[in-house]
């Protein structure tokens, strides 16, 4: 009776959960790397380090260059983290989908190994 219950769960709720978990892991990975925040603030100055322009064209130009540099640093760091996040997401997707695909075959694995061991 319990064995039947196990198989019912394994090929029902258990398998369904494997697929649902993929979406959950993707969301968590994306949140851990703050992908949304980073994408929204991609060109924002790094840690708000900005220069305020003083009098004259020279100072204006210098402030503009400084601020552009701050934005460039911010952009580079954010893009780097987004790239790492994408790699992590791809890894999570591959592992998740693989585990969901092999899930129905898993109960057969011990049987297969047992046969291999005995014969």
């Amino acid at each position: 009776m319990l064995a039947l219950e196990f198989f019912t769960w394994w090929y029902g709720q258990g398998w369904l959960r494997r697929w649902q978990d993929i979406a959950s892991y993707v969301r968590k990975t994306s949140q851990t790397f703050s992908v949304n925040i980073l994408a929204r603030t991609l060109f924002a100055p790094w840690r708000r380090i900005i220069s305020y322009p003083g009098e004259g064209l020279n100072n204006h130009l210098r402030a503009m260059v400084d601020n552009l540099f701050s934005r460039l640093i911010g952009f580079c760091v954010r893009v780097l983290v987004i790239i790492i996040a994408v790699i992590a997401l791809i890894f999570v997707l591959i592992v998740g989908i693989t585990s969901a695909v092999i899930w129905p075959f898993m109960p057969l694995v011990p049987l297969f190994l047992l046969i291999k061991g005995v014969f």
Binding site: M1, L2, E5, F6, W9, W10, Q13, G14, R17, Q31, T32, F33, S34, V35, I37, L38, T41, A44, W46, R47, R48, I49, G74, V77, R78, V81, M106, P107, V109, P110, L111, L113, L114, K116, G117, V118
Partner: protein, 607 residues
């Protein structure tokens, strides 16, 4: 319908629950260890070329992996499945019940070792054997228990009936136990309150950790080195350990502060008496802002609390103090995500020992800066601010916090108790919490709830009896710290009370009628039959000089209040003019005033 008929212990769910309960704890850990060993052995065998054994050990290891997955994701969770009783009972209940005669006694015996059952027996100081003796062995009585358990769990729709619900139902439906509870001055409401407390703990274990923004959250905000040095980031504290502020997030106080922030109020004055929990409201607000989803301007805003003592101790002179403050405010403004919280704000509004006036520095900040400020202050201090610094006070949005009701105070006490128990290694009974609420309300006038109740609970820690804080521990704390007797009368004291007249007559002769009237009033108060909101007694001793009016007062102080100096003596010849009344009733500003004397010594003799 019989209780056992309602419950199908042969259902698949019941069998799964029993298997899950068997595997809990040690068995599960043993399975994991064996599985790991088998995997290592399999690798070793494959590596050494003994493939046949390697396949066999791998087969067992994989089978164990599959079983553990089933246990973790299905058996150990076991969500409610249907409206039938066995479909609603939690794994812990269903897995512990055995077949045969299911009656209140047998159900208690099955569940009595579970931590949720111990939670009840500990809070009510009820030995499990006493519960067992007072429960019915009749199966017919079980249907009432199940119905009660279903009723108690109805508020948690979609969730299982926990051990706590069943235990509470057993206690509530047993007439013998109800009598026991009544004798211990505990009511049905107390059992339900302890159940609500327990279920809060159970539910908090399942709580999903909110999303706080991830690693890149703070990369769009500025650095705050000075602010980090002088302030404490409450948002980070709330992120790590703010779960117990959940319910406070929904209170009108927090909602009002959040609305004011959303409407870009430059400054907020959070007004309330000491002990009302102003800092806790701000901690709850920090957590609320951490989780904010709707308002983008408030999302991920962080609250930093500034300590006046630390700023003062670091700044060498007035100039440096101003520079430090301006740097801090400038950093907060530049960071773009900081709300500054000034706790004990009165220390920032006037010059004195341990305080300094920064209103002139903060006024331009309130007028021009983008950083929002919150000041926690007492009602009197806000009034003084309005009088002395009207321009500054006009810039603040006042939010007056009202005292929590009894249920909320009890909830705060319950949450505080868990932390205190963990830190001090004690157990606090539910009766002790009730007594804490009652006695702190009666004898602590300087603070508001819940602060005064928490203070009394902390004060009672040294009076634990064998590690248990009981009603008597709380009464002892009041007696030792305030000199007020609140507990039941001990035999020695009873003897003293009965012979009070003789005691007084040892000091003075005659005046038997006056002595008898006074002694009677004192006895009534100590017996608890007098009105607690009125004085113990008001007596007018009339007579010519030398008959013993003052001596009788001194005798009462010496015998009942245990010290002749426990008298507040007012010479009425000093209060003959109308203006003298003001001097007599001067408030908390004058330490020698009547009001302050009574606050310091609430149980004292006026003469």
């Amino acid at each position: 319908m019989e209780g056992s008929d309602k419950l199908n212990l042969k259902s698949v769910r019941a069998k799964k629950a029993r298997l899950a309960v068997k595997l809990e704890g040690g068995s599960y850990r043993a399975l994991i260890v064996i599985m790991i060993i088998l995997i290592i052995v399999s690798f070793f065998l494959f590596f050494t070329g003994t493939d046949r054994f390697a396949y066999l050990t791998s087969a067992i290891a994989v089978a164990m992996v599959i079983f553990i997955l089933w246990y973790k994701q299905d058996l150990s969770v076991l969500h409610p499945t249907s409206d039938s009783l066995d479909g609603q009972l939690s794994k812990e209940v269903l897995g512990r019940l055995r077949g045969g005669r299911v009656n209140p006694k047998s159900v208690w015996m099955s569940l009595s070792t579970n931590w949720q059952s111990n939670f009840f027996t500990n809070r009510f100081l009820l030995p499990p054997q006493i519960v067992e003796q007072n429960l019915s062995p009749e199966t017919t009585d079980m249907s009432r228990v199940w119905e009660m358990a279903e009723q108690l769990s109805a508020a948690r729709s979609g969730k299982a009936i926990e051990v706590g619900h069943v235990v509470a139902a057993l206690l509530l439906t047993s007439p013998a136990l109800r009598t026991l509870f009544t004798q211990s001055k505990m009511s049905k409401e107390d059992i339900e309150a302890v159940l609500a407390w327990l279920i809060r703990i159970v539910d908090s274990e399942d709580q999903v950790k909110p999303y706080f923004g991830g690693i890149g959250r703070d990369w769009t905000t500025g650095f705050t080195p000075h602010l980090s040095e002088f302030g404490q980031n409450l948002s980070i504290v709330a992120e790590k350990s703010g779960d117990h502020f959940d319910w406070l997030q929904q209170t009108t106080g927090v909602v009002a502060i959040k609305n004011a922030l959303a409407e870009d109020a430059p400054g907020i004055a959070l007004i309330g008496p000491p002990g009302i929990g102003k800092s806790s409201y701000i901690s709850a607000l920090s957590k609320e802002l951490n989780e904010e989803d709707e308002n983008r301007n408030l999302r991920h805003q962080q609250i930093v609390s500034l300590s006046p003592s630390m700023i003062l101790s670091r700044a060498k002179g007035t100039g440096e103090l101003e520079r430090t403050l301006m740097t801090i405010i400038s950093e907060a403004s530049h960071a773009g995500h900081i709300i500054l919280f000034f706790d004990d704000a009165e220390l920032f509004f006037h010059e004195g020992l341990g305080s300094f006036d920064i209103t002139q520095i903060l006024l331009p900040v309130l007028e021009n800066s983008n950083v929002q400020l919150i000041f926690a202050m007492l009602p009197n201090d806000f009034q003084s601010l309005k009088t002395n610094q009207s321009a500054f006070a006009a810039k603040l949005t006042p939010i007056v916090l009202s005292e929590l009701d009894e249920d909320s105070v009890m909830r705060v006490l319950e949450d505080t108790t868990l932390g205190l128990e963990y830190k001090r290694g004690v157990l606090v009974t539910y009766g002790a919490l009730h007594e804490t609420y009652r006695l702190s309300g009666r004898y602590e006038q300087e603070m508001a709830y819940p602060g005064k109740a928490i203070q009394l609970l902390e004060e009672s820690m040294p009076y634990a009896n064998d590690g248990v804080i009981t009603v008597e521990s709380i009464q002892q704390a009041i007696e030792k710290t305030r000199g007020i007797k609140t507990g039941s009368v001990a035999p020695v004291e009873a003897n003293e009370l009965l012979n009070l007249e003789d005691e007084i007559h040892q000091r003075m002769i005659n005046q038997s009628q006056a002595v008898s009237v006074v002694a009677g009033a004192l006895r009534r108060t100590r017996a608890g039959v007098a009105n607690p909101k009125r004085p113990i007694g008001s007596f007018l001793f009339l007579g010519p000089t030398g008959v013993g009016k003052t001596e009788l007062a001194k005798s009462i102080a010496a015998t009942y209040f245990k010290n002749e100096s426990n008298i507040i003596r007012l010479d009425m010849s000093e209060y003959q003019q109308p203006d003298d009344v003001k001097r007599l009733l001067a408030g908390s500003s004058d330490n020698s005033s009547l009001i302050m004397s009574v606050r310091e010594r609430p149980l004292v003799l006026f003469c």
